[in-house]
Amino acid sequence: MWKTILRRFLIMIPEVIILSILVFLLAKAMPGDPFTGSINPKADPQQIHHLMKINGLYDPWYQQYWQWVVHLFHGNLGNSYQYQEPVTRLIAGRAGNTLWLALFTMILTYAFALPMGVFAGRHEGKLPDTIIRVYTYVTYCIPFFVILVIGIWIFGYVFGWFPTTGSISAEASGSGWLQTIGSRFYHILLPGILGALFGTVNIVQYLRSEVIDAKGSDYVRTARSKGVPSKDIYRHHIFRNSLLPIAAFAGYSITGLLNGSIFTETVFSYPGMGLLFVNSISYRDYTVITALVLIYGILNLIGTLLSDIILSIVDPRIRIE
């Protein structure tokens, strides 16, 4: 058990190192230099040359990389050239938005998926099962960004029920904390619901097959012969047994939600890390790009690690000995 977790951690270290080198080199390979745009176009080339030199941009790549890593461990990710402020502060201001949206989407996804999965498994092969299967199939097939665009069109513009841009309304940002929270929540409602409605497929399918398997197992038969009502069997016996593996999906869904955040935040002009990334790309803001790719990579890694650990607790076959 502990061996598995330890080994999983040890494998993580080279992965992070390779990722950081890769990200660093990719950022170096991007066209333009970091001073593009921030310097008067009439500036003396000699002066730019000097700037590049004192910033170490003429050093060999491994020296620059090492410099970058040292700074990284001091919590210094450099300055954003677009916003003229430290990257750490810039990202810290945006990360909250992305994480809240992701968390909210995840909670909603579970809220939708758990009853559906149990219900489909319970009525296996009957009409509800078919309806849920068709539903998960349809939601799985359609590319998510298309849903977002159609969703914001119908519910944001045509009906006008939800805000279509930003993370907080202008009036609410100045007033009390209750309005602030309310307005923030209102802004993540539509993207959260859409993300949850169209992200249930994995959990529903897993839970459904889990319930179908459990239906024929001994402990369910024992409970039935004791006279436990069918409703309680599903709610307390079967559901509780499938809860842990289902929880393991949370880690994997972090990965999916983060990848999707780029689309969600672009469609809803929601100022999170995904939108920051898209904006930084168009401004060639390397420092922000490298930091964001690294953060997303590490978050992906943690998500997968979490899922793997939970699964290895649940299922002894997965453990490495």
Binding site: F145, V146, F263, T304
Partner: protein
């Protein structure tokens, strides 16, 4: 041989013919035959298949008759022309460019890239999965670590970064960039099946008799999992349509002068377009939905055909 046979056996030629016929009737039908009977049993699937094939042929041939640079020229007279008029069937966008024509060329580009991506990434994923699953031990371990690493990369971000690095890219380079990141799903599926397949007797028999490893992998194991491969390719084709259009939507796929379904949906980023000029983006969005649903539906039918216990087609 038949005459020879008659001399040494008391089975008559007529009986032999009858027995051969019976044996053929009882033999496992070919994969193509199973798939075809499955489609015949499922009318909606047949409809979906015809929609896809007909539509792909239509846009491939139709796009040949459209002069793309001319189509992309701004024509002020057509500024946001209403749809359903004689000049503009589906209206025109802010540059007075016909939406219907853009839709045909855009579909050709998007579907073309999706097909290319499916071929490249599936081929790579299949080879990766077969090799990784067949050679257990260190090779598998190493390949799995590479796989883990690829899974950790934030895919969308990496593609966007690569696209900005490459100065002049076109649909071919774009397809190659996408292919770097989209083989993992296939490879994992194929690997797990290959692992199970390698345990079977025919593989160990072949190994003991000294057959070349590559021959075992590609001539013996691969044909045995071919139905899985067909299903997976179809489903990834549906997924890959979303990949290119999604990136083009963000503005990092095909350049704006090359229409794609994604760049057309990007028209919706303008609040005016999304409400007043819905015809500039909604047709492309609906087309993607219908295409993806039909292709995955065909994929589901293929999956059923691959699994004997789920078949609906008459086993004749």
């Amino acid at each position: 041989m038949a005459e020879n046979f008659e001399q040494h056996s008391d089975v008559s030629a007529a009986d032999l013919a009858r027995l051969t016929q019976e044996a053929q009737a009882e033999a496992t039908p070919s994969t193509a035959k199973i798939i075809w009977s499955e489609f015949k049993a499922d009318k909606p699937a047949m409809a979906a298949l015809f929609i896809i094939v007909g539509f792909i042929l239509f846009v491939m041939i139709g796009a040949l008759f459209i002069n793309t640079p001319k189509m992309m020229e701004t024509n002020i007279m057509g500024y946001f022309n209403q749809p359903f008029t004689s000049d503009y069937w589906l209206g025109a966008d802010s540059g007075g460019r016909s939406v219907a024509k853009q839709l045909i060329v855009g579909s050709r580009n998007s579907i073309g890239i999706a097909i290319g991506l499916t071929i490249i990434s599936s081929t790579f994923g299949i080879c990766w999965g077969l090799i990784s699953g067949y050679f257990n031990g260190y090779i598998d371990w190493g390949m799995q670590r590479v796989y883990d690493f690829m899974m950790m990369l934030p895919m969308t971000m990496m593609i966007i970064v690569l696209v900005t690095i490459i100065p002049h890219y076109n649909s071919v380079t774009l397809t190659l960039i996408f292919s770097i990141f989209y083989w993992e799903g296939t490879s994992r599926l194929i690997r797990s099946r290959t692992l199970a397949e390698s345990e079977k007797d025919y593989v160990s028999a072949s190994r003991t008799s000294g057959t070349n490893h590559w021959k075992i992998i590609f001539r013996e194991i691969m044909p045995n999992i071919s139905s899985l491969i067909i299903v997976d390719c179809t489903l990834s084709f549906a997924e890959n349509i979303g990949v290119e259009t999604g990136l083009s939507y963000l503005g990092f796929g095909l350049p704006s002068q090359t229409p794609s379904l994604g760049t057309m949906i990007a028209n919706a980023n303008d609040p005016n377009n999304i409400t007043q000029y819905w015809w500039t983006w909604l047709p492309a969005a609906l087309e993607i939905i219908i295409l993806c649903l039909s292709i995955s539906y065909v994929g589901q039918v293929l999956r059923r055909a691959a699994d004997a216990s789920q078949r609906q087609g008459a086993a004749d």
